[in-house]
């Protein structure tokens, strides 16, 4: 028989090997593997997100335009959900049984142990009902969120709306998380970083039953929510509402600016919509309706619609002509209708008269002098040099460039330059005769209503403008970005504005002027210029720019009414009512019939030419 005492080594080795196996296993899971540390944190750490209240928005007089209203998200923790009376629960929440199942499944697939949103944005009224019953349904609880509310029901295009952040943005910007809200358009979008504030995170420890057990690291990693900054805008909400009222049943826009500062007093795009339609759960229902509407109420015409400016463009032509010294303020040109069509009026003997009477052949001849300055021998080359210089000058007026205002989606319009025509016709294949329509603001030139209003402000200021903007104060301090406080010179000497102002005075106040309807009364002198943009698709568009009072301009305005014919008929009276409303806070008795006429007008159903 073998020596059995050697078996002590076998037994000892077995014990040692098991000890070694355990040690290796422990080393693997405790030291080499980090997975369990993450799992352990996931078990006990819960992040409570505290959503900051979004910043408030006021108008220039301190009227509240946007505030927050409490809304409630119903949360579910699948682990704690017990078998309950599903039918009663569904009727309480006003959802179907299928929806209930689907939502529960979704929550479970997200996490069994972590809460997720079951039903979003319950209104405070439904919340009151639900809260009373909620104790019967373990695993469900309510988390407070805020919704935007617009007490004045207007200025939708300016204020914009907020919505849930998209996945692509979450991937791009680490601040945002799924379910966060972000400004999607308007000021909500441009001042998102001011309005949103800073999310607060509280980390707590929970036990196996998900009961709170105190804060993580005694709150060392917790952050407080910081409320969003409130902003004061330059809007005069009373004027804005009045503008929206005047524009009802019309298509077009109004932009009013304080010429001294570039502050936008009102910006109306018609047709519009109630901003409260795009809040919370209503978005799902209303957004498709609004976006399918053939009148396109979501489209902000004041910033995005590019129209030919029509005759208001003549003011720029006259100014450039004088600055280039190809004409003087006393230059006269006869009304030769064979050059370009015109209406019957006395001959314009000077610049002021030409503005007042809006003579087309006059500007044909002025523009010809601007373009053909005999700087080159070739007929074509000469036009090219002329147009090159001209387009640079026009762009200084903010035309054909994107005005750096504080709303997203601003279009730049079009001021055709050499490159444009070379592409269009080919180099050396165009000359003044090809492009003469530009002289009266037709043809390829396109501007947006904001640029038109800015033109009125430039004339009122006799040669400069501040970039039109909406931001007045941030958290009650008036430091705003320097781009809004920089004077932009247009490169025309002060003295050349005198005849233009005189002409624009005549337009409204003298016999033979094209917009006598814009006169308010002798107390407020309005200067303006009409325009009628030819519209190949239908009735012409009616344009009017103006400013007042003449000697100390406080408001510059542009009104553009689509398909309404001659500028003096509709656009001018609307502008005059807006000016009167802004300067005197009311409409004088004498002008009430004018107001009545506008309010009753329906210019929507104009037949469209095929």
């Amino acid at each position: 028989m073998k020596n059995l005492s050697n078996r002590k080594f076998i037994v000892g080795i077995i014990f040692l090997v098991i000890g070694l196996v355990f040690t290796v296993r422990l080393f693997t899971i405790q030291v080499l593997n980090d997975k369990y540390k993450v799992d352990s944190d996931n078990n006990v750490l819960r992040e409570l997100v505290e959503y900051p209240a979004r910043g408030l928005v006021y108008d220039r007089n301190g009227e509240l335009l946007v505030y927050n209203e409490a809304a409630y998200d119903l949360m579910v923790l699948p682990k704690q959900v017990k078998e309950v009376d599903t039918l009663a629960f569904c009727s309480l929440l006003e959802i179907t049984k299928e929806e209930f199942k689907e939502k529960i499944e979704k929550a479970k697939s997200f996490s069994y142990y972590k809460p997720s949103i079951f039903l979003k944005e319950i209104s405070s009224i439904s919340y009151a009902n639900i809260q009373e019953q909620l104790f019967k349904y373990p695993g469900f609880f309510v988390q407070t969120r805020t919704l935007r509310k617009y007490p004045r029901n207007s200025a939708a295009h300016i204020l914009g709306y907020i919505g849930e952040v998209s996945q692509s943005l979450i991937d791009e910007n680490p601040y945002y998380r799924s379910g966060d809200y972000i400004g999607k358009s308007g000021l909500e979008n441009s001042y998102e970083y001011l309005l949103r504030g800073q999310r607060g995170v509280k980390r707590i420890l929970v036990d196996v039953h998900n009961r709170e057990k105190g804060s993580y690291l005694d709150g060392a990693t917790d952050t407080m929510a910081i409320t969003g900054s409130s902003i004061k805008t330059t809007i005069d909400i009373v004027l804005q509402e009045y503008g929206e009222l005047l524009m009802q049943n019309k298509k077009g826009s109004i932009v009013a600016i304080d010429p001294k500062t570039g502050e936008i007093l009102s910006l109306v795009s018609a047709p519009n919509y109630d901003p409260n339609m795009l809040v919370g759960r209503a978005v799902k229902k209303n957004y498709p309706v609004l976006s399918m509407d053939s009148l396109n109420p979501l489209f902000n015409r004041a910033l995005m619609a590019q129209y030919p400016p029509g005759s208001i463009f003549k003011t720029i032509q006259a100014l450039i002509g004088m600055e280039d010294e190809v004409i003087t303020e006393n230059s006269g040109f006869s009304c030769i209708k064979s050059l370009v069509n015109c209406h019957n009026h006395p001959t314009a003997g000077n610049v002021a008269a030409s503005v007042k009477m809006s003579c087309n052949p006059y500007y044909y001849q002025v523009f010809k002098k601007i373009i053909q300055q005999n700087k080159a021998k070739s007929f074509y080359k000469d036009s090219e040099i002329g147009l090159g210089l001209w387009s640079e000058q026009v762009k200084k007026f903010g035309f054909g460039v994107k005005l750096a205002t504080d709303l997203p989606g601003v279009k730049k319009g079009n001021v055709p330059d050499v490159k444009f025509y070379n592409k269009w016709y080919g180099q050396g294949r165009w000359a003044f005769s090809t492009i003469y329509s530009l002289s009266i603001g037709q043809g390829e030139v396109e501007v947006i209503p904001l640029q038109m209003a800015n033109l009125a402000a430039i004339i009122a200021n006799r040669g400069y403008f501040y970039t039109p903007h909406f931001l007045k104060e941030i958290d009650k301090t008036d430091t705003i970005p320097s781009q809004f406080t920089t004077k932009n010179m247009v490169g025309i000497q002060d003295k050349y504005f005198t005849p233009i102002l005189e002409g624009m005075y005549g337009v409204v106040n003298e016999p033979g002027g094209t917009a006598r309807r814009a006169k308010i009364h002798d107390g407020i002198i309005v200067c303006g210029k009409t325009g009628t943009a030819q519209n190949p698709h239908g009735e012409d568009h009616s344009v009017f720019i103006a400013f007042a009072p003449k000697d100390d301009p406080k408001i510059a305005i542009a009104v553009y009414v689509e398909n309404s014919g001659f500028g003096g008929t509709w656009a001018a009276p609307i502008a005059s009512l807006m000016i009167e409303k802004y300067l005197t806070d009311s409409i004088s008795t004498a002008n009430l019939p004018k107001e009545q006429r506008i309010l009753e007008a329906n210019l929507m159903d104009v037949k469209v030419k095929k």
């Binding site: 028989m1 059995l4 005492s5 078996r7 002590k8 076998i10 037994v11 000892g12 077995i14 014990f15 040692l16 098991i18 000890g19 196996v21 355990f22 040690t23 296993r25 422990l26 080393f27 899971i29 405790q30 030291v31 593997n33 997975k35 369990y36 540390k37 799992d39 352990s40 944190d41 078990n43 006990v44 420890l205 929970v206 036990d207 196996v208 039953h209 057990k213």
Partner: protein, 510 residues
């Protein structure tokens, strides 16, 4: 004359120090595991940590009493002690209280005692006594039968109490019997059985039978025929296996082919009278049939006999969770594939539902326990989260933290340093016990020493193995560490009887 003042004469201080270290580690970790801020004193007897201190006090008194007794006492009364404890095991079945489904407690007022704990040292005493009798030889069948009866009797009684964990502990005696002369093949055979068991559960019985068939042909042909026969047989077999898998034939075919081959072989043996050593052929066939039966019985026992919760204890270890997740994904793909009619879709959907249910059971029941246990230990890192700082422990993610899963608390709060130290202390104690046992002059003391080491080792193996996901969940305590009076006392008695016997080894004649 012995002097009571000198009861510590010749005792092994190394073992005693290791014992005290374990008891102390146990006490402070029980404190951490059930720490209650309202009762923050570690001496508060309304809490488990206060009570454990009392149990420790009693345990030390028991140790002292044992040291004061004479070693002769245990050798003389080995069988009577065994008898009394066996009687109490029977009694507890009749009048005992049921806790957690096991009828293993005597309740006297607030005091509860578990006789199965004391059956361990009683069994070792009886076994030691029997094996130390003159004219005992492990090679005798009779010796084996009696030894197995001494071990098996309490094991069966404890199994009747529905305490599977404590029953399995008696498997530890295989080490004792091995040391006393049981063939080493038994150990290897046991190991093989476990490996086949696990492989069958993972790969299914058919694959294992095919593999066994391959091995059998290889050995049988090599042993009884020449190399040519071996190669030809294996080639034929391989072709058959290839066809079987490639055309996904029915499982039954394997049984028919194997059964047919065996019948043919038997017939061949009977007809060919001139063949020599027929016995070895019959034995070969017999072994193969037994192997197949064993493999079938695993599959059958596992799926038909074991209860759901017992099954999950094992399947969790074998990665059942990942397997189920994968199966569900595949079924979903099959369901959404083109060209499937409504009926088939319904069948697949039902299947998915059933699998999802099992997954849920797995994740919430034992699967959850093992997962949380691993998270607790794993998240301890190298140096641990610190005393009383274990979040898994504090916030009750780990079940049975002060008893069966106490190792989680140690792993979480003391990290790898703590667990390594603990494993080292245990291994040191086991090796010390074997070392001391080998030094004994009497067979009784040696058998007893090996018994103590084996019992402690088995608890260590299963308890820690379970906590770190290497063994199925079997509810047995970690010696000297887990909370509980009965287990602490029984382990203390177990160990100190040996320390006493060891201290007197020089007085004992061979």
């Amino acid at each position: 004359m012995r002097r009571y003042g000198n009861i510590f004469a010749n005792v092994d201080w190394v073992s005693i120090m290791l014992y005290l270290a374990l008891v102390f580690i146990g006490w402070i970790n029980i404190y951490a595991a059930v720490y209650n801020e309202d009762h923050h004193s570690i001496l508060d007897v309304s809490q488990r940590y206060g009570k454990q201190l009392i149990w420790i006090g009693f345990a030390l008194i028991l140790a002292l009493i044992i040291l004061m007794l004479e070693g002769q006492f245990f050798t003389s009364f080995a069988f009577p002690i065994y008898g009394v404890v066996m009687f109490s095991l029977i009694a507890v079945l009749l009048v005992g209280a049921t806790t957690n489904g096991a009828t293993s407690w005597f309740e006297i007022g607030d005091f509860k005692i578990q006789p199965s704990e004391f059956a361990k040292f009683a069994t070792i005493l009886a076994l030691a006594k029997y094996l130390s009798m003159l004219s005992i030889n492990m090679r005798d069948i009779k010796t084996k039968v009696v030894a197995i009866a001494i071990i098996g009797f309490p094991a069966v009684l404890i199994l009747l109490q529905n305490d599977t964990g404590s029953t399995l502990v008696y498997a530890a005696f295989v080490f004792v019997l091995y040391r006393e002369g049981l063939s080493g093949n038994i150990l290897l055979f046991g190991l093989l059985a476990i490996v086949v068991f696990i492989l069958t559960l993972i790969f299914g019985p058919i694959n294992i039978i095919i593999t066994a068939g391959f091995a059998y042909i290889l050995f049988y042909t090599l042993l009884k025929f020449d190399l040519k026969v071996t190669i030809i047989s294996l080639l034929l077999y391989s072709v058959f296996v290839f066809i079987f898998y490639n055309y996904q034939l029915k499982d039954n075919l394997i049984y028919y082919v194997f059964g047919g081959s065996l019948v043919f072989l038997l017939g061949f043996l009977i007809i060919k009278k001139e063949l020599k050593d027929k016995a070895i052929h019959y034995v070969g066939i017999f072994v193969f049939v037994i192997t197949c039966l064993y493999i079938f019985s695993i599959d059958f026992t596992f799926n038909e006999v074991l209860k759901e919760h017992q099954r999950t204890r094992i399947t969790v270890l074998l990665g059942e969770e990942d397997k189920l997740v994968e199966q569900i994904e595949n079924l979903k793909l099959a369901r959404d594939a083109n060209g499937i009619n409504k009926e088939e879709q319904q069948i697949i959907s039902d299947d998915i539902g059933a699998k999802k249910f099992s997954l849920k059971e797995l994740r919430q029941g034992n699967g959850w326990n093992i997962k949380q246990s691993l998270i607790a230990i794993g998240s301890g890192g190298f140096s641990g989260k610190g005393f009383l700082e274990g979040t898994q422990t504090k916030f009750n993610f780990v079940p049975e933290q002060s008893t069966d899963f106490i190792f989680c608390t140690i792993g979480e709060e003391w990290g790898f340093l703590g667990t390594f130290l603990l494993v080292s202390i245990y291994v040191a104690l086991f090796l010390r016990l074997i070392y001391l046992a080998e030094k004994q002059r009497s067979i009784f003391s040696r058998v007893y020493g090996y018994g103590v080491a084996s019992i402690l080792f088995f608890h260590f193996l299963v308890n820690i193995g379970m906590a770190i996901g290497l063994a199925p969940v079997i509810g047995i305590p970690l010696p000297f560490i887990s909370y509980g009076g009965s287990s602490l006392w029984s382990f203390t008695i177990l160990l100190f009887i040996f320390i006493k016997l060891d201290s007197e080894r020089l007085n004992v004649l061979r």
